[in-house]
Symmetry: C2
DNA sequence: CGGAACAATTAATGTAGATTAATTTTTTTT
DNA sequence: AAAAAAAATTAATCTACATTAATTGTTCCG
């Protein structure tokens, strides 16, 4: 159940049995059915979530009702509205399950206590956050400087398995074009 | 000299005199004249930098030679190509000084040692990285879901002092439009 | 102080990708 | 397996913003 998470943690820090047990005592698992929300605009993010099965998406909805996917999360990934979680204020993002999924949750309160009781976790979450910054920096640069076609190619290279399993609609939303345009683009490419 | 940085650190962790002295022994200051590069594409980022005076910009240059400003950094801000710094590999970003500036630098090696000798710093840099993730998430959402005019308004609200002191060229590059279009937009707005 | 480099403005023209809408294909539900 | 819902395709039209180019205004430096 917690193997994937523990393996993930073990890459960066080494825990004693006691520390592992304490961590596990703070965790809760949660199942989310396809199309069900983990979080909606206006909710305050009380937990950070680690995906163990399925796939979720985080997205914003603009004032014209269009969705912009910021991130997909497959097993082994963390997902959450960082701003809302850190400041414990209502956020403006949505998260829902694309397929039936299962996640492990850790509440903000428990995480804060964990940092105090087992300071080693500061290191783990520092590295996690640093990697997230690097990833966002890169994604942002790509969205600024690549054309729609290049953004698609880049996505396909980076996440070949996602290209297989996601509908075009979601990929279009992630790379920032309409489904109609993506369809046209892909069919032109073949000729 | 190091006051601004120490005050910044003191917001999140408390250091003994000894720890402060040790930190200071690892720091170097550097002056960067207007238009001089702190870093160019292909360089590996060996240091993380904290601005104490002046203003710098970090940007990417796309294959058509256009610059896209990712971040400005004024006193009190950290700046650096995270991906290159973390992986110690050549990066693809540029950083240069918009005005004569002064920064404090800390090398990757010294930072890694600092984490081992004074684990408290794990917490400080964790919080820093978390805040950076939240900021990037928000900037990214804005770039996806707002029009050029809204992005300008948002920038002007967030950084009123920068709107004053930066040339339109730089603001245009930050919000992701051409200088010509920004000029037109601003003059239309007044009518 | 004068001229060279740089920044801003204006306007005509061009285009990547959006919008709308109708049709077909695929998936889901019962 | 049929009906309903969702996804993909195609094509015509539209638009926010880019491009190009010429003009003016500003800053900086010898």
């Amino acid at each position: 159940m917690y193997d994937l998470l523990l393996a993930n943690i073990a890459k960066y820090i080494t825990l004693t049995q006691e520390e592992t047990d304490y961590l596990i005592s703070l965790l809760h698992t949660k199942k989310i059915k396809r199309k069900r929300y983990l979080q909606q605009e206006g909710d305050t993010t009380r937990h950070t979530s680690f995906v163990i099965s399925g796939i979720l998406r985080m997205y914003s909805v603009d004032k014209n009702g269009f969705e912009h996917i910021i991130q997909f999360a497959t097993p082994g990934w963390w997902i959450g509205d960082f701003q809302s979680f850190l400041q414990q204020k209502p956020g403006n993002l949505f998260i829902d399950a694309i397929d039936d999924s299962e996640i492990i949750q850790l509440s903000k309160t428990d995480l804060d206590n964990l940092f105090i009781k087992v300071p080693k976790f500061e290191r783990f979450f520092r590295i996690l956050a640093e990697n997230a910054v690097a990833a966002y920096q890169q994604r942002f640069v790509n969205s600024l400087s690549l054309s729609a076609r290049e953004r698609y190619q880049n996505f396909a290279e980076l996440y070949p398995s996602l290209v297989q399993c996601l509908s075009q609609k979601f990929i279009a939303s992630y790379i920032g074009v309409t489904p109609e345009f993506l369809s046209k683009m892909l069919n032109q490419q073949m000729q």
